[in-house]
């Protein structure tokens, strides 16, 4: 049967916050846009974001975007690009107002303005008193934002391909991206979508680790598609472990709990963060809190029969505060930890949460294909959201800055695409060879016979990642990890599906996801092995110090022979003075 084809001005892969905010700009401008998502849009993982989105609205405490910028640069452990950070922090304010105008049901202050709470790593006046910068809709901010954006896209009549799985980017010999091969999950039929511009907004890859706050669908598909198109991923060694996942399970307990006054205790009831971060205490940056918890447990101060977690104490807050500000957390703690936080503390331990690295873009959301500091972007290809790396989070992301990142850069990518399509009216000729290569990749899963199952290899892989690329990383352990993951990659050849039918075959999509996970996992492990310093979330007991002379640079990883290269950090902001690297204390 001939392969079905469709043509659009723009193809957006992903219907989370980033994809939907871009789609909204494009649909409002009457461009022909297709949004492809492997799940119904409101099931995208943005829905799970709890705490809120940062913007210096100064509704509760004094604030301005420049302080927000300072905190973000410092939080990034000086690896973030300061031009992109300045842009994001300035744009945060109109972005949040626009969201509100679109209908997001933010919680409110007595004067009718948007409620803002304190989050980790936030300060007034360049490192002074705690700030309150995180705009929240109770503890369901992601849900509120995602549903609102979807609603606005219904109004704007955006064209959705729901439950279509993107397999590969299609490219021509000049390296230009021509669209993507996607799979209709319900029928199992492939579809070729040709587009003048393509935006990757496929979200994160937390499923590379065994214990994670990320959904089953967060498998780094877009990142792996980019790798297979011979493009690099940037700063993949920087993976955030959120300090407070429900112990043993991984579901997230938002930092907003600590923002509202909750704090961590060890088995002796000591408030141990006072020891590790005397000023910011429980609201120190996430990497700092996560390491402190792991250290406490390793030093024998853990709670529970296995002494393998710590406790998050909330019961000193009034039931009213918990009911009003943290209703979702109370529900989750009851269901998954079996405790009512109004009465008892919640058992917590760090959980794999967020990838700072991703598809390298400039501050316009355009994909940058080389390690050249003054290199050109790849025309027509964009990336935004968690799959992208602008880079605004550098080595460590601040809570509340990711929703911000996806919204600001999703919107911006939308605007830039509108301009690009005005000047590039024609589709480029299709490259059949590239289509055939992706079809062959799909066809590989039709192979029958005995072999490993997808879930067997996936379990082995995720355990390996957890053991060898987790919170603390040392040379031998990581080198062994890289070897093991390479073996896992080899074993992919031995995996066979037992189900070869077409209709809603999750066995097949999970196999495609496993290929993606492994490619992305290797990018993380190889990049991590080679960075011989400790910076942000990348913590190496064998190289405990940050080394700005040697390592204040971005890592680039290519799939072909696991090649690495490096490129400079953009330290020059747009209009203000650069923040020079300083020691990072909280």
């Amino acid at each position: 049967m001939a392969l079905e084809k469709q043509r659009f001005d723009t193809l957006i892969l992903g219907a989370g916050g980033a994809g939907l905010n871009a789609a909204l700009q494009l649909a409002n401008a009457n461009l022909k846009v297709a949004v492809v998502s492997k799940v119904f849009p409101t099931r995208s993982h943005t829905v799970a974001a709890q705490g809120g989105v940062n913007a210096a609205l100064a509704n509760v405490l004094p604030d301005n975007w420049h302080w927000h910028m300072f905190d973000t640069v410092k939080g990034s452990d000086y690896l973030g690009d300061q031009d992109a950070i300045e842009y994001m922090c300035r744009e945060a304010i109109p972005t949040v107002y626009e969201l509100e105008h679109n209908g997001v049901p933010f919680s409110r202050l007595a004067n009718g303005k948007i409620y803002q709470r304190a989050f980790g790593g936030q300060s007034q006046d360049f490192g002074g008193e705690q700030a309150a910068r995180t705009c929240a809709a109770a503890d369901r901010t992601g849900h509120a934002i995602l549903h609102t954006l979807y609603q606005q896209n219904i109004r704007a009549k955006t064209h959705f391909y729901d439950e279509y799985f993107a397999v590969d980017l299609i490219k021509d010999d000049a390296g230009m991206i021509l669209g993507a091969l996607v799979l209709n999950i319900a029928t199992g039929e492939p579809l070729l979508i040709e587009s003048k511009t393509t935006l990757l907004a496929t979200g994160g890859c937390g499923q590379v680790f065994r214990t994670t706050s990320n959904a089953h669908i967060n498998t780094g598909d877009g990142m792996a598609m980019v790798l297979r198109a011979d493009l690099p991923l940037m700063d993949m060694e920087f993976f955030q472990f959120h300090p407070t996942g429900i112990a043993g399970k991984g579901m997230l307990i938002t930092e907003g709990v600590r923002g509202e006054g909750g704090y961590l205790i060890n088995k002796d009831g000591d408030r141990f963060m006072e020891k590790y971060a005397p000023n910011a205490k429980d609201l120190a940056s996430r990497d700092v809190v996560a390491r402190s918890i792991v250290t406490e447990v390793r030093d024998g101060h853990g709670c529970g029969p296995e002494a393998d977690h710590v406790m998050l104490k909330v019961n000193h807050l009034s039931e009213d505060v918990i009911a009003k500000r943290l209703p979702g957390i109370r529900e989750s703690a009851k269901i998954f930890a079996g405790v009512d936080p109004v009465k008892d503390p919640i058992p917590v331990f760090p959980t794999a949460h967020y990838v700072m690295g991703g598809i390298p873009t400039d501050r316009f959301g355009r994909v940058m294909p080389t390690a050249d500091d003054d290199g050109e972007h790849l025309p027509g290809l964009y990336a935004a959201g968690e799959c992208a790396c602008a880079s605004v989070h550098g080595a460590n992301r601040l809570g509340g800055n990711s929703l911000l990142d996806i919204l600001v850069f999703g919107r911006l990518a939308g605007h830039n695409i509108i301009d690009y399509v005005k000047e590039n009216k024609a589709h480029r000729p299709l490259n059949e060879a590239s289509v055939e290569a992706s079809m062959a990749r799909l066809g590989r899963w039709d192979a029958k016979g005995d072999g490993m199952t997808v879930s067997q290899l996936r379990n082995e892989f995720r355990k390996t990642m957890e053991d060898h690329a987790g919170v603390f990383r040392v040379e031998d352990m990581m080198a062994e990890g890289v070897e093991k993951i390479k073996q896992v990659r080899e074993k992919l050849n031995d995996v066979r599906l037992t189900d070869h039918t077409r209709t809603f075959n999750t066995n097949r999509t999970e196999a495609l996801e496993l290929e993606n996970l492994i490619d992305v996992g290797l990018a993380i492990a190889v990049s991590a092995l080679h960075r011989k310093e400790s910076r942000g979330a990348h913590s190496r007991p064998d190289y405990p110090k940050r080394d700005d002379a040697e390592w204040m640079k971005h890592t680039l990883y290519w799939r072909e022979s696991d090649k690495l290269d490096y490129k400079g950090v953009r330290v020059q902001p747009l209009t203000v003075e650069s923040f020079p690297p300083k020691e990072r204390v909280y």
């Binding site: 799940v39 119904f40 099931r43 829905v47 105008h101 679109n102 209908g103 049901p105 269901i335 209709t503």
Partner: protein
């Protein structure tokens, strides 16, 4: 623990059938974990799921006769053997996966987006905490479909009656102090079917995994209509 699971693949089965599986029950296990364990035994078994924590709304299924989200349904609360079926009244695509397009179309019918007529302020549209409180119990809907697919009126008149989820959403916008299309919204709900086919049977309330109350929302809309009529 034993599970009797609905199976149907249109490519290979002429008819649906129930299949038994046995799963070793671990502490704290949810129904989703059991379904995943079943999937490890038989890779051809299919169901939707994603977040694992009751926020994405993917994994609504019918369990021992009631609609639930598998990921937040503790096995300890289910009677052995557990019977797992797809949502009632929806066309089955495969196994537990049903076609929800009609449910989504109904949502679209209530114009589920905030509508303003006045020009927008530069900053946020102000809303008091009390006005914002009106949205609680309405905005949290995750569109899982547990309610609508448990509603007899929805089964009989899916093309005419909007169903509890869409009506709850309509109420969410009617209740929003910032929305300025109240009249149009009410006009669109007029007639004997769209709203008024609700016979307050309350199956929707019982089914909602987020503790929302569509029946109350529907009553609320009726009350506003009545007030407007007078």
């Amino acid at each position: 623990m034993k599970f009797s699971v609905y199976r149907y693949n249109p490519e290979t089965d002429s008819e649906p059938y129930m299949q038994m599986f046995e799963i070793e029950q671990r502490q704290g296990m949810m129904l989703r974990d059991a379904l995943l364990a079943i999937q490890e035994q038989d890779e051809s078994f299919t169901f939707r799921h994603s977040c694992g924590e009751g926020v994405c709304g993917s994994d609504g299924v019918n369990v021992n006769g009631s609609n639930k989200l598998a990921c937040i349904a503790p096995l300890t609360e289910l009677k052995d053997p557990v019977e797992v079926r797809p949502f009632p009244g929806r066309p089955v695509i495969r196994d537990l996966v049903v076609d929800m397009s009609q449910f989504y179309a109904q949502y679209n019918q209530v114009d589920p987006w905030l509508q303003r007529k006045e020009p927008l302020p530069e900053q946020e549209i102000l809303q008091t905490p009390e006005e914002r409180d009106q949205l609680d119990g309405l905005y949290e809907c995750i569109m899982c479909g547990c309610c609508s697919t448990a509603c007899p009126s929805f089964w009989w008149n899916p093309d005419k009656f909007l169903g509890p989820q869409a009506l709850l959403s309509a109420c969410r916008f009617l209740a929003d102090s910032r929305d300025q299309a109240g009249e149009e919204r009410l006009d669109k709900l007029e007639g004997p079917y769209k709203l008024f086919r609700c016979h307050t049977i309350m199956s929707c309330v019982e089914a909602c995994p987020k503790g929302l109350n569509p029946t109350k929302a529907i009553g609320h809309i009726k009350a506003i209509m009545l007030k407007e009529a007078i």
